[in-house]
């Protein structure tokens, strides 16, 4: 089912997206619009293709051997899967934070943050310092690490590492930030800090966040997409999409209602 009508000015517009792992079809004709400077939450039972879907947005899907994709993903109106588009450029515009924190272990905290921007043009030291402070602040980590920027990124706790990864993604200044269950491995306090950080991000970024946590989805997001598989082995579908408030208070489909009220999933 497609919910293209709900948002008038999308940054990303997904049209009729089918995604495959080899012969296995993981997603079936997904259509979605992602609103600018809003937070879109993706929910749904395990294995219904949420991770697969967001990896289709920044062309990470194609790094999996045998993976294939059909359909269109328009980023600012331009199809990221068009013939002449370089995936590297897409990924600079659409950043990603993974489920498990994955800082670069051989780099310091400082170097971790600038790892992405060092791929591009040269920056002055003062410029870098400024970026590091700003993004660590945005990720709500600055206060905890400002006195040990030269320490290894691995010296941080899991929650801090995840915020470091968020800062690292922000430093590249993408338009859209994809987050795949960024807080699933973390304690409630770290989760709270990450949610706060995400709320702030909305001012300048568009965020898509996958979560299994209904409270989290309803707290932080403006729009919610519910993914669902009808039966084992069938491809996942975007079952329902809309404003978060409506999805949680007045879902149109029974499965959505069952899921958001915790009756299954």
């Amino acid at each position: 089912m497609s919910y293209l009508h709900e948002i008038s000015e999308p940054v990303v517009e997904v049209q009729d997206l089918n995604m495959y792992y080899g012969a296995f079809k993981a997603l079936d004709s997904v259509g979605m619009k992602i609103a600018k400077n809003r937070i879109t939450a993706l929910i749904g039972p395990s294995g219904c293709g949420k991770s697969t879907f967001i990896r289709g947005l920044n062309r990470m899907h194609e790094t999996v051997p045998g993976a294939r994709i059909e359909g269109k993903v328009l980023l600012d109106g331009e199809d990221v899967y068009a013939e002449n588009v370089d995936p590297v450029r897409v990924r600079r515009k659409v950043g990603m934070v993974f489920q498990k924190p994955n800082p670069f272990p051989t780099m310091s905290i400082y170097d971790n943050v600038i790892a992405g921007i060092k791929l591009g043009r040269r920056h002055k030291k003062s410029e870098l310092d400024e970026i590091v402070e700003r993004t660590l602040n945005q990720a709500a980590l600055w206060g905890e690490v400002k006195n040990k920027l030269k320490d290894s990124g691995m010296s941080l706790s899991g929650g801090q590492q995840q915020r470091l990864c968020i800062a690292r993604t922000l430093a590249v200044e993408p338009e859209v930030i994809l987050m795949d269950e960024p807080a699933s491995a973390l304690d409630p306090i770290s989760t709270q800090k990450i949610e706060d950080a995400i709320q702030d991000l909305k001012k300048s970024y568009t965020v898509v966040i996958v979560t299994h946590n209904m409270q989290q989805a309803s707290r932080v997001s403006d729009y919610t997409g519910f993914f669902f598989i009808e039966e084992m082995g069938a491809p996942g579908q975007l079952w329902e999409f809309g404003e978060t408030e409506r999805i949680f208070s007045n879902p149109k489909r029974k499965e959505t209602e069952d899921y958001v009220t915790g009756r299954f999933g």
Partner: protein, 334 residues
Amino acid sequence: MGEAAWPSLPDCFFIRRGVILNLFKRLRRGNLGDNIFGFVVLLFGVSILVIMAGIVFQLWLQSAPSREKFGWSFLWSTAYDVQRQNYGAGVFIYGTLVTAFIALILAAPVGVGIAAYLVEIAPRRLNRVVGSMVELLAAVPSIVYGLWGFYALNPFLRDYIAPPLQAVLGWLPPFSGEFVGTSVFTASVVLAIMILPTVAAVSRDVLRAVPDAQREAMLALGATRWEMFSRAVLPYAKSGVLGAAILGLGRAAGETMAVTFIIGNNPQIFKSLFGQGATIASEIAAKWQEASGLTLPVLMELGLVLFAITIIINISARLLVMLLVRGPRGGLRA
């Protein structure tokens, strides 16, 4: 050469203290089957130590006349005077280290390159083909490398590689002088090819051990594949790659037959790589049959020195790997 040709990572250079500790724990817990098993394993472990000690002891015993005559200065003396019966290991240690290092310098980039290609780029089917080709390289007997190096590689290097090298770098001592029939240069190149499988195989295992999360992290930041490899994969794996390289160095230092064929066995401190030289192993292989009087103990002491060098190289490889692994990165990595 065949036996340790395609070593798997854990056997190669991770010291497994845990295994022995566990054995002792098991022994104390007292399950009969485990006890017997533990005892047998312990026996095998100890027997290796006993054999090693036996070898060292024999070499030590038989080299007595040489040790008494030359003392410690044997290690650095570069004397080689048959008339006066005056010998030193210096020339041979020099030859061994120089050839091994050049071999490593040549083999390391190629080996790591092959490993990177196999792990990062090659499609699965090609992976197997290239993989088994490298394995095949390791299965070629040493003597065949010697023959090939002498009859095929040497003329090739002399006619096609040495002249341009000399044209550009001829003003440097290592590249000056005439390319004689057999040379240090040819020996080093053959050594490089011989240690390539080791370097490639261990590097491949090391690179494969780098978590995909590291690759994805770099790619998602907008890195090209090359940037992903050079900035995320290689730094993560650098200690292991270093270990692979030093393992190669150890093998090059101990290699015998091929070098004996090619290097010329001319005991001298060569200045030019195009000249002749000798390594410890090649000297022993070339001279032991006609050894008499003092030369046999000298060869025995040379054997002792070679033993020490390879052990020092291997231990320093392990130490380096351990230091680097523990280094700046703290807990989360195993």
